[in-house]
Symmetry: C2
Subunit: 395 residues, 2 copies
């Protein structure tokens, strides 16, 4: 039989990152290509306690069907926490629990984007979200990321030339892959532009709690008095990604459409994991846990940047980061980036070629992304030394 697929997916390729995972499973390869939390970051003992407690005390409540909106106590606790800690959420907002933040991108695309509609993204941006938008046949318009976040002139130009754009997708904190944090000034300007051009903002903030230096910058959602920001939060980087629990805070009319889409998508998110997140943020000291994670990752980030200084200069330059899990590295003009990444794999180090994160993957790109949260210190040193030697041999 000759299979006929939809136009949406006929040109979709598997995520380059997930393809690279296949090399990463070779135990001899040092993978700097993943985005996994450190294995030391999981509150395993607490999760085991919570799980044992609920499964002995009230198993049916986590094994039965539940409602699409999410587990009510978890929704209430996140709502309170986000309001208190980040001034996020107004009376006009509601909260939906999702199966990871990836699902938020899927539900928003389904509910908001017609085929051929414009989505404005940072360039580079998170490949998983871009691929989800593509899977609804959205047309992506990339706006350059500058050291203080998305170019505001670029954004206004994109909005002017695409008056029917549906939303702006941004990762304002420690952006994946660039590591860049958007300045407060730019956040305010982006908000005003979105308001002026009547376009929604999807603010994706998986790394916001992982700041290692500098001052927190308020979320765009924290000054949303007009109901134009959809906020995506996640427990993947701060409790566990295997749980697949995230949350979307958005104006009620959008929330209602997302709920209908979620019913058709997976009915509801795994209840056990919602229960685990709820108990963990309420019965344990969640802020102390976040402080412990920051301590763990601050060390790893500094160690990684020290290694880049030691082994990669002068051929490879990189952008210093204040948080998150990724460092964006640049090659000099005379080294071909895709060739370099392939040679790195041959030499048993995986990194992600930067063009994978562009709205147009065929654009020339001299950058690659490395991750420091997943590898051990030994692996980091080994991998970065190989990258440095490879690059410095070529200049």
């Amino acid at each position: 039989m000759k299979y006929k697929f939809s136009d949406r997916v006929s040109n979709l390729k598997p995520s380059a990152i997930r393809e690279i995972f296949k090399y990463a499973s070779d135990s001899e390869v040092v993978s700097l290509s993943a985005g996994n939390p450190s294995p030391e970051a999981f509150p395993s003992k607490e999760i085991a306690q919570i799980s044992a407690d609920i499964l002995s005390r009230s198993p049916v409540s986590v094994l039965q069907y539940s409602v699409s909106e999410g587990y009510t106590p978890l929704r209430n606790h996140i709502t309170d926490y986000m309001k208190k800690e980040h001034n996020i959420g107004r009376e006009f907002d509601d909260i939906l629990i999702t199966t990871g933040a990836q699902q938020i991108m899927d539900l928003c695309s389904k509910a908001i984007v017609n085929e051929g509609d414009i989505v404005i993204c940072e360039a580079p941006s998170f490949i998983g979200s871009l691929n989800t938008f593509r899977s609804y046949n959205a047309k992506l318009v990339g706006v350059k990321v500058e050291p203080d976040g998305m170019s505001i002139e670029g954004l206004e130009k994109a909005l002017k030339s695409n008056p029917a754009a549906k939303f702006i997708y941004t990762i304002p904190n420690f952006q994946n892959p660039s590591g860049v944090t958007m300045s407060l000034e730019k956040r305010k300007k982006m908000y005003e532009l979105a308001k002026k051009y009547e376009v929604l903002i999807i603010e994706d903030n998986p790394y916001g709690d992982l700041r290692y230096s500098g001052e927190n910058v308020p979320a765009i959602k924290s000054f949303d008095e007009d109901g134009i920001v959809i906020y995506a939060g996640s427990f993947s980087k701060v409790i566990s990604p295997g749980l697949r629990v995230a949350y979307c805070i958005s104006p009620k009319p959008i929330f209602q459409k997302l709920v209908v889409c979620k019913q058709g998508n997976d009915v509801h998110t795994n209840i056990w994991s919602q229960y685990v997140c709820d108990e963990f943020i309420t019965k344990y000291d969640f802020n102390a846990h976040l402080a412990r994670l920051r301590e763990l990752y601050t060390k790893k980030a500094r160690f990684c940047m020290d290694l880049l200084d030691k082994y990669c200069a002068p051929a490879i330059t990189y952008h210093k980061i204040d948080g998150g899990l990724f460092i964006w590295c640049d090659l000099p003009e005379n080294i071909d980036m895709p060739t370099f990444c392939k040679e790195a794999v041959k030499n048993k180090v995986c990194v992600v070629p930067g063009n994978a994160f562009l709205t147009d993957e065929s654009e020339k790109c001299q950058s690659f992304r490395i991750n420091f949260s997943t590898p051990t210190d030994e692996q980091l040193e080994k991998g970065i030394k190989i990258l440095g030697d490879l690059a410095n041999d070529r200049i």
Copy 2:
């Protein structure tokens, strides 16, 4: 802000069943409207043991990110089990683990259906799947369900008038909502028609293991030598729906597209629950567990049918079932079905109006669906007596 939603969802309504759940949460209301497994059906003790074991022995393996295809041992064990027990799966097939079978409908729609494409369904059929197809702007063509399954003349007519139909959606065993099981003859005819008209079949089989009388009928997928059947299996009715674990066995080219769509949908299914299912079907006696479920539900189904005989005749007639969780009831011509269902709610019993399951909800329908797995015996007796009294007062 005036929100602009996609054409897909502008006309989508929340599932009527999930709306009715809201009444069902009133503790005075007897809900015969759900589709939940009996609380007694869950292997709670075994799940608690498996969970405690993995969370103490190897927590990182269930808390870290994983691959979109699903947990490899679970994929292998289901593949072996389905081949051995049901002759399902060939060399050209592969298996994807999904977040409930609802996600299979979502991924198949996304990968196969362009907006405006035809999907052929049984009428009535499972509202959750129909709404997912609708959410991709598929055009639904309903084919009448007869006592031995979908009308084959109706199907051929639908295929002839819709040569570009993308797939036939069928629930061949103890269909939701009609309770009907498709005969072997019709399964073979459906397969031949699909082959002739080059249309795929999605065979949704959540209830197949819950047969209380009669002989098992082979799955359509068991005679798929041409790679035209996508099989949807689920642990929701036989282990637990809160886990959200299902599996899709389909030809590799389709599998590959579904994997790409799943990456963009929720990256992967909760690992803890995949691990629980894997250990439960391999380390415990899964077939003995299924036998215990059949015993439990056989009793409840018979009890429910006895109550319908006792309280509802002659006004309400019903279709005897050999398995599954639902019974389809008919009202006489002189009773208006929607009015009857509303009066039932006022009298503290919830049932699902039959038109909710039609491809065209505005069509006249004299039926409603009841479920017997969720309520206690006392609730069943109370609820069915109220329904019988209401109907018999009106003839």
